[in-house]
């Protein structure tokens, strides 16, 4: 079993696992609906969100889940976040089972999702103090919050105003600060750039690179943005209707298409070939 360890030199949290895998997802299945039927309501057809999903993510890897809205990407993220229980299969984060050892998993992860998900009337400082305290941080958190926000371009005055007065791009930066301050060794990014303006999008993408390069974190990135997936990830799993239909580096996925006679294929071509769908206009996130 993995143990949380503090490096005596850097005081950073690390994880000791016998294997090199950060995440192991093994034959996970999940369906929604059909659990509880009320006598006065017609039974809903169960929705098969995930069917026999398996993949592993190596330590320090940036792994992409590429799929259309409703393909099951967010369900995978929620299972790894301990927010949804799988019907079958097993998932571990640094050796900790997400169902049986969820408390240990919670210390190792954090998530940046499509919505910033804050108390909008509270200021960034108040929101982040709340988050830090939930992760056991003490009085030093206030100083670190202001320092981190400053690095992200948010001044102390802005940090004390209600979050609702900020643009979405700024709110997403606060969400990034929350993830940094709780020091996850596995960072779950669930469409973090959807709906952002180009500049904010670029900034978030820079953050992912920076965290990978200097913060010793493993990253799972869900996206339906082809360029983003190609630019940021080491490997990509293409998800369609709750199944992984292809897995490899972007070069490997493209090579497969070249063998079928395509000249210079793009990731969009790869996705179209694998799923029969286009992601170009697939911009509005839908509930999964």
């Amino acid at each position: 079993m993995a143990q949380l360890l503090a490096d005596p030199e850097t005081n950073r949290l690390s994880v000791a696992t016998p294997a090199s895998e950060a995440v192991v997802v093994d034959r996970i299945c999940k369906q929604f609906g059909g659990v509880l039927r009320w006598p006065w309501r017609a039974a809903k057809e169960p929705v098969h969100a995930l069917t026999d999903i398996s993949f592993t993510i190596g330590k320090g890897e940036v792994f992409g889940l590429l799929g259309a809205n409703g393909s099951g990407k967010s369900t995978i993220i929620r299972i790894l976040s301990t927010l949804i229980l799988p019907d079958a299969g097993r998932a571990t984060v640094f050796g900790h089972d997400v169902v049986r050892d969820d408390r240990a998993v919670k210390y190792l992860i954090n998530r940046v999702s499509v919505e910033a998900s804050f108390f909008k009337k509270l200021s960034p400082l108040e929101n982040l103090l709340y988050a830090c305290r939930l992760y056991g941080r003490g009085a030093e958190a206030r100083r670190d919050i202001l320092h981190t926000l400053d690095l992200l371009g948010i001044t102390e005055a802005q940090a004390k105003r209600p979050l609702e007065t900020m643009s979405r791009g700024m709110q997403q930066k606060v969400a990034i600060a929350r993830a940094l301050l709780t020091a996850p060794v596995l960072l779950l990014l669930d469409e973090p750039t959807t709906g952002l303006d180009p500049r904010s999008k670029q900034e978030v993408q820079h953050f992912v690179r920076a965290v990978r390069d200097s913060h010793d974190a493993t990253v799972l990135l869900c996206t339906h943005d082809m360029e983003e997936a190609e630019a940021l990830t080491d490997r990509i799993a293409v998800v369609d209707q709750g199944r992984i239909v292809a897995l490899g580096t972007s070069a490997q996925l493209k090579t497969r298409l070249r063998h079928e006679g395509h000249d210079n294929p793009t990731m969009e071509d790869v996705f179209m070939d694998l799923t029969g769908k286009s992601l170009v206009n697939d911009t509005e996130p839908r509930k999964e």
């Binding site: 005081n11 929604f32 301990t82 509270l122 939930l134 941080r137």
Partner: protein
């Protein structure tokens, strides 16, 4: 940000405290401080609701004063105090009940529920933090209400057994924390209707617990509900201590059922909450929107 974010200069990654007491203590404080900040940020609504509570309480107490045309001055004084206790105790119990029972619904509205549920704090810490805030908030709010109401009515409080009243309220708070925990599962079970259901429960408690009248005036079929409502015993105990000056030693008949409900409902509430949280995770109901 390319030029702004230099991750090398980020603060060092913190190590979680090894002491369970420190870790969970900070968790409890996180919920208390967050709720204090929310009250401060929603100050306009706080004032609006409080003004309504004051107006409502005064209206009810003036109904008592209006009886002076047919009652003796002593009976009128007793009735005003009877109604005053009802309005103050109910204001307190409702504040405690609402804070706990709405903790899930509130986070759903704000869109933060997933982040709170994936944080590494135990559910006991979550519920304790919410309960602690609700009691402090209820005491402060009711204290201010008491001061305002006292300025409108001159009542003789010389015979009041304050210790007895305080103990009744303390034990009664535990009971309401437990009932609130049980009610808090409804927004987990029913994302769209759960909050409405807790509102209905609070209305039923108001009706059957004898807040403004003795339970004996209720129809026979309704009276059994009063026996399972902790508010019935809190009100009975408070009236015995304040109106009749009865000490703790004479309040056993009230304190024992209250203690029983509290000791039973808190662990049951925790247990049921755990089961329902697991159900919500299995069915995917732990989402930000309803």
């Amino acid at each position: 940000m390319a030029s702004m974010l230099d991750t090398q200069s980020l603060p060092p990654v913190p190590v979680p405290p090894t002491s369970l007491f420190v870790r969970e203590g900070r968790g409890v404080y996180a919920f208390v401080a967050r709720n204090v900040h929310l009250v401060r940020r929603y100050w306009g609504w706080e004032i609006a609701f409080f003004v309504f509570t004051v107006a409502n309480s005064l209206s009810i107490m003036y109904i008592g004063k209006a009886q002076q045309a047919v009652n003796s001055p002593e009976a009128t004084q007793r009735l005003i105090l009877y109604l005053g206790i009802g309005t103050l105790v109910w204001s307190y119990l409702r504040a405690v009940f609402d804070s706990i029972s709405e903790m899930i619904a509130w986070e759903r509205w704000e869109g933060t529920i997933e982040y709170t549920m994936m944080a590494p704090v135990s559910r006991l810490t979550h519920l304790l933090g919410t309960a602690l805030f609700s009691i402090v908030y209820g005491v402060v709010r009711t204290g201010i209400l008491l001061v305002i109401l006292s300025s409108f009515f001159r009542v003789d409080l010389s015979h009041v057994d304050a210790t007895g009243a305080a103990i009744v309220l303390l034990i009664g708070s535990l009971s309401f924390v437990g009932v609130g925990m049980v009610a808090a599962i409804l927004p987990l079970l029913f994302p769209e209707r759960g909050a409405e259901m807790t509102f209905v429960i609070s209305g039923i408690l108001l009706l059957v617990s004898g807040v403004y009248y003795p339970v004996s005036v209720l129809p026979g079929w309704m009276q059994p509900f009063a026996t399972v409502s902790p508010a019935t015993y809190v009100l009975r105990g408070m009236r015995s201590a304040i109106l009749d000056g009865q000490s703790v030693t004479h309040l056993g008949g009230t304190l024992l059922p209250l203690l029983f409900i509290g000791l039973l409902s808190i662990p049951i509430g925790m247990w049921v909450f755990g089961i329902v949280e697991r159900y919500a995770k299995r069915t995917g109901k732990l989402k930000r929107s309803g």
